[in-house]
């Protein structure tokens, strides 16, 4: 059973067809890479999957349920979590607050209960504080919990983004260039982290990446797009020798 399925997904901005006829199937537990040259439409696809852009055609299903037309926060509840290409943490909030915000969808107390600190407030706040700290400690960041997110070093900010996305308890995790700006050592660590996340949280991962080492090293399957169209699908080895892909990347 496929976790995510898109059928003929497409979007046009005015006369520009940014993505066209994009159909993929992701199975549960899979680690799929989405690659392509700059401007190919990779992030646009992520934005459609998460409801930021409304596709002009085609449909998206998660677990067999149609999601296009839903609001981003509703899609998060249905199980898609994501990170951003350019880090978009809540810079002036603490590390733990960043994570706690992602847990909000599981909290039910209302503003009134919050103002008067009724028992339910304590129960839920304590619960998510514990959960958030546990999650942070998996990434060795529990000691940074009270720091402002903007004061973290770059590598940790990237980690915190992943951590925050995991806190939304996704079935499908979308990582938008997680290795952007990292050195080879950090990239290697990141690869291990992504593997670890998938096994630990039983989450399916769809990853956009430019770093070929990372992509070839961890993805089981790759989808290559160029000018908004899928030009190749297959295992890393198949992709490496695919003529069209080489052309798209190096020019003909």
């Amino acid at each position: 059973m496929s976790l995510l399925e898109t059928k003929n997904l497409g979007i046009a901005f005015g006369g520009l067809r940014a993505v066209d006829n994009f159909s993929i199937n992701i199975k549960e537990g899979e680690l799929l890479g989405l690659i392509g040259p700059n401007g190919a439409g990779k992030t646009t696809i992520f934005n459609m999957l998460t409801g930021v852009y409304l596709p002009t055609e085609g449909s998206i299903y998660i677990d067999g349920k149609k999601i296009n037309g839903k609001k981003p926060f509703q899609i998060v509840k249905m199980g898609i979590g994501r990170t951003f290409q350019n880090i978009r943490l809540f810079a002036n909030l603490t590390v733990i607050e960043n994570v706690k915000i992602a847990f909000h969808k599981d909290m039910t107390y209302n503003t009134f209960t919050g103002i008067f600190r009724l028992p339910k407030y304590w129960k839920e706040e304590d619960e998510i504080t514990t959960k958030a700290l546990e999650l942070l400690s998996l990434f060795d960041m529990e000691n940074d919990a009270e720091n402002m997110a903007k004061n973290l070093p770059y590598g940790k900010q990237r980690k915190l983004e992943i951590c925050r996305a995991l806190a939304t308890n996704p079935k499908l995790l979308l990582l938008d260039e997680p290795a952007a700006g990292m050195n080879p050592q950090e990239t290697k660590e990141l690869m291990e982290t992504i593997h670890f996340i998938r096994d630990k949280f039983k989450v399916t991962v769809l990853l956009i990446e430019h770093d070929m080492n990372l992509v070839m090293g961890i993805c089981e399957r790759l989808v290559v797009i160029d000018y908004g169209m899928i030009i190749a699908k297959g295992t890393p080895d198949e992709i490496k020798s695919n003529k069209k892909v080489i052309e798209a990347y190096l020019g003909s």
Binding site: F84, I101, G114, E125
Partner: protein
Amino acid sequence: MTQFINQIINSLNIGSIYALIALGYTMVYGIVRLINFAHGEILMIGAFIGYFLAVTFNMSLIPLLLLSMIGCAIIGMIIDRVAYKPLRKAPRISALITALGMSMLLSNFFRWRFGASDKIMPEINLIGNIPMPNITIITVVITFMCMIGLQYVITRTKTGQAMRAVSEDKGAAQLMGINVDKTISITFAIGSALGAVAGVLYAINYGNLEPYMGTMPGLKAFVAAVLGGIGIIPGAMVGGFAIGIIETFVKGYISSAWANVFVFGILIIVLIVKPTGLFGKNIKEKV
């Protein structure tokens, strides 16, 4: 010396009211980057609700205040839904002009329904049969309670956390499962409820109310919010008291006629010298 102490007390009194209104301006600005010029009219509506409750039901201050807050919170949310929400993606200037229009609509609607003449706010009890003590003390105490409550909501509850997250980055917040529209609604509700408190206290302090009463305090509170750094909550509190002090002392020691000159002069000076306000950080535009 007595005069000096009196001026201090007066400035705390009016400063509290400005601070309460300024909080509404600054909260809304922080979350949707909109100067809600209709906020002064919320103060007027709050005062009118209080007036009608006092006249018809002979209600005492505390229940009257709570009902007026609820009423204004609902009206604030409706204003957002009807006037500002459709313009969320429009250029900011459109929403600003809408806010000015909303302000005129509300005050003129009240003039049309209830007449332009001054209404006298009746004497009311504090709660039950306990008579009202000195109104200045009540004003300052209630204001501080509201501020502590607000600070607590903002820093300690998930509602406040969501508000701060939305004010930092709407896009990222909604992709973490936060309902942005709901969060904005709650912000308008809380800001308007504080405006209602200011309105009721203002009407009791001055003893009367009329449909245009919100305009001047609204504008001065806006100056207060800018002085403190618009979008920054402690800034609005400090700015409100600062404007209260300046206004009272100019009235007391120079001349009543000069008070507004000084207050609005501050707006000009702040905008020239430190546009981000006392508490604001200078953000350099990255190229």
